[in-house]
């Protein structure tokens, strides 16, 4: 679903209030934005019990943030003790599944990958929360509509949305200045991106790259997100995902031009292998001047405050900026995020449910957003006054307007994207054309979905 099609009060209000110093980038603080009243859900402080809460937020920034959310809820629900358990991302859901299948050892509350929630509901891994939602009058209207809809399976909600995101372009203003580019004028189209890259790329004597300007496959996202910026929306307007389109093929061809620019796919992968974890990643190390990442990445940048060495040998802190993803067709982005769910068979349902209502409410989500710069799923928290003084925050909320949730869940073949993934390396290596890959992928999607 394209978020821009939704009637978003937030986005409209912000768009009118924001004043830009560059091409839609460095926004000024809006004045007198009409903030909606904070939405909190009715809690029952008499409920008592132990709640085991599984999440995967282990980084210093996010771990502190979730601890603060738990502390807020402890104040509101004094008889409930929440114990948070950090599990590795990915393994958390396998561990939960094993526990649900065994009938014991599952948490009372778990963070679910929201776009995959309907599949978990279909598999019977998470509990239907609709009876509790109806009983306590929790309104889905308080949330960004796409976040609420992603929790639905056969009309019932299986999780309460907690945090969403939006992918934007982070660019290194320090490197822009060094390369003689205007740091207040980041590229807004694919053409401008290429022009900026010509100035930012830096090659070693042996022809390898010491620094590259940008690569669409580095960062947080992938070719499908860039497809959105070229009007390729496979799940729009049909029963089956439609990947065999000119827009999609153009996108892949465009990604391929970046592979070629940097010496081919193998060289691109080799360059990627030189990045490390935070704070030595592609952007913070200064090896890549522009990168796609979620709004929350700015909290990591604020936390680590990375330094780079300039061409003249001096060391300086990175001055960075944010911009909409450069586009070919129209501005677009992708918003994912998570939900809080109760696994099937969990015995602390009532206490777990109270904690979820608290954590998803205005105060807790505002706190989470202040720490992590993730976009709250509850709309009122977007207007948090402490966040609204930051121009970057205003920009992120505005970027949500053109973001896209990936489309409806395609139950007949949840992994349909793998049909392209299986062929994509052959495209990058020049063994088959993008058209050929997409044609075969389409055939594969249709065959598997109709099995």
């Amino acid at each position: 679903m394209r978020l821009r099609h939704l009637n978003l009060v937030v986005a409209a209000a912000l768009t009118t209030a924001v004043i830009f110093s560059g091409a839609g980038v460095r926004a000024q603080t809006p004045e007198a934005t009409p903030a909606p009243d904070p939405v909190e859900f009715q809690l029952n402080p008499d409920v008592s019990g132990e709640v085991e809460f599984w999440h995967f937020w282990a980084s210093p920034v996010r771990n502190n943030a979730i601890k603060r959310v738990i502390a807020i809820c402890k104040q509101k629900l004094p008889n409930i003790n929440v114990t948070d358990v950090v599990k590795p991302f990915g393994d958390i859901w396998t561990a939960n599944l094993a526990a649900v299948a065994a009938g014991s050892g599952m948490p009372d509350v778990i963070v679910e990958d929201r776009p995959k929630l309907p599949q978990r509901a279909a598999d019977g891994i998470t509990q239907n929360l609709q009876p509790l939602i109806d009983r306590d009058g929790v309104s889905g209207d308080a949330f960004w509509p796409f976040t609420w809809e992603q929790t639905l399976y056969e009309g019932n909600s299986y999780g309460i949305p907690f945090e969403t995101d939006v992918r934007v372009l982070f660019y290194n203003r320090t490197l822009f200045t060094q390369a003689g580019l205007d740091p207040n004028d980041p590229p807004s189209t694919w053409e401008e991106l290429e022009a900026a890259a010509d100035a930012l790329d830096k090659q070693n004597d042996d022809g390898t790259f010491a620094r590259i300007a940008f690569h669409p496959l580095y960062g947080n996202g992938g070719y499908s997100v860039w497809g959105f910026t070229n009007g390729a929306f496979p799940l729009e307007g049909g029963e089956l995902p439609n990947v065999n389109t000119a827009e999609y093929a153009e996108t892949l061809d465009w990604v391929q031009t970046w592979n070629e620019r940097y010496g081919g796919w193998q060289a691109v992968q080799d360059f990627r292998a030189t990045f490390g974890a935070l704070p030595n990643d592609a952007f913070m190390s200064g090896k890549v001047a522009m990168i796609m990442d979620v709004a929350g990445y700015s909290s990591q940048l604020n936390f680590y405050r990375p330094s780079i060495t300039l061409d003249d040998g001096t060391s300086t802190r990175i001055d960075w900026g944010v911009a909409l993803l450069p586009y070919s067709e129209a501005p677009s982005s992708y918003s994912g995020g998570f939900a809080l769910s109760i696994p099937t068979g969990a015995d602390g349902t009532e206490a777990g449910w109270e904690f979820i209502k608290c954590a998803a409410g205005h105060e807790a989500q505002s706190s989470w957003a202040r720490d992590t710069y993730s976009i709250p799923t509850i709309i009122s928290a977007v207007y948090d006054p402490l966040l609204m003084v930051d121009p970057n925050w205003v920009f992120f909320t505005q970027a949500m307007e053109s973001s896209y949730s990936g489309g409806p869940f395609f139950a007949a073949y949840a992994n349909w994207q793998e049909q392209i993934d299986q062929r994509i390396e052959a495209v990058w290596k020049g063994e088959i054309t993008a058209e050929q890959a997409l044609q075969e992928a389409q055939q594969g999607i249709e065959e598997t979905a109709n099995q």
């Binding site: 598999d123 992938g222 193998q266 992968q269 990627r272 390396e425």
Partner: protein, 331 residues
């Protein structure tokens, strides 16, 4: 029956009075029998509960569609029929056989060579033995991350090769080099194999070498005609366990495929061009719905597991049969 034997049998019967399976047993023997079973029972119960019953259940589920949480739905041979047309089944089988074919002999030859060197009573032998075994006591996952760094395109290993003017390959990002990368990495854990060979070498009587020396045997002849034949039970044990272990490779490739590719590749598809899609990784990815139609595919994964069981069983049976020709248990 001779007269003496008849007398003996009568005496035995008179002593016990209990007949089990046509055999007379004394009270002591019965008690010993019961005690024996009691001592073995923890293992037997464990085997039945944690191995036999799950195996029987997985055999049943291999004929079903099963998502762990709802009752399995019988589909007959459908899973098996689909498997043989499944591109990733053949790819994972091909990758796995490649690794077994190359890694097992390379590791074996290297381990025996190092064990032979360590068997000379040279100064510092104990220290080397400890150093070589040390990696086996380190946590596996940490070592795998470490090796990803060592084998990075600009990592320690390639820098080392660079000293000799060799431009090292892109180990875990180039489909042609991922599996050789695993073999290089596997050498890190070779200490366990070396210890077993070394123990077997220490068990070979020195008198045999002395006798051979008197007969004029030197160097390679001693190894060929004394060491290797007498080492053959250890080699046989290592061959069997290494082949089974290599068929079951999982943790290493699970970590590499999940961390090495970045957003350019799908972690469920086995790394660069599927070159790290090994059989057990494929079973896991299918079981947990990371690949294929979606949702949990435990039935399909069970069918895959039984095919692997059959393959390993056949190869082990062949090994056992062939072992009669080259394994010497008498010294």
């Amino acid at each position: 029956m001779s007269v003496a034997a008849e007398r003996q049998a009568k005496t035995a019967k008179a002593r016990s009075g209990i007949t089990i399976a046509g055999r007379n047993m004394s009270g002591n023997a019965v008690r010993e029998g019961i005690l024996g079973w009691l001592f073995a029972s923890p293992w037997i119960i464990g085997f039945i509960v944690f191995t036999l019953i799950p195996m029987v259940f997985s055999f049943y589920t291999s004929f079903t569609q099963y998502n762990l949480l709802t009752a399995p739905k019988w589909v007959g041979f459908e899973n098996y029929e689909t498997i043989f047309q499944d591109r990733y089944f053949w790819l994972s089988l091909q990758n796995t056989f490649w690794l077994v074919f190359f890694k097992v002999p390379i590791v074996m030859i290297t381990a025996i060579s190092i064990a032979l060197l360590l068997n000379y009573d040279l100064p510092g032998e104990r220290l080397f033995r400890t150093i070589i075994y040390l990696p086996n006591v380190l946590a596996g996952a940490a070592a795998i991350f470490l090796w990803q760094w060592i084998l990075a395109p600009n990592g320690l290993f390639n820098n080392f090769l660079g000293i000799f003017g060799i431009r090292g390959p892109s180990w875990f990002t180039d489909a042609d080099w991922t599996k050789p990368g695993l073999i290089v990495m596997g050498m890190w854990w070779i200490g366990g194999n070396i210890i077993i060979y070394l123990a077997a070498l220490k068990g070979i009587p020195t008198t045999l070498y002395e006798a051979a020396a008197i007969d004029g045997a030197v160097g390679w002849s001693k190894i060929r005609y004394i060491t290797l034949p007498l080492l053959s039970p250890a080699i046989f044990f290592q061959v069997i366990t290494s082949i089974i272990g290599t068929f079951q490779i999982f943790a290493t490739v699970y970590i590499i495929t999940n961390t090495a590719g970045g957003s350019g590749t799908n972690p469920a598809l086995g790394g660069p061009e599927g070159s790290l899609m090994f059989y057990v990784l494929y079973i896991y990815n299918r079981a947990f719905g990371r690949i294929g139609q979606g949702g949990l595919q435990m039935g399909y994964a069970s069918a895959l597991a039984w095919i692997l069981f059959a393959i390993i069983l056949v190869i082990t049976m062949i090994q056992l049969y062939l072992s009669k020709r080259w394994v010497h248990y008498d010294s």
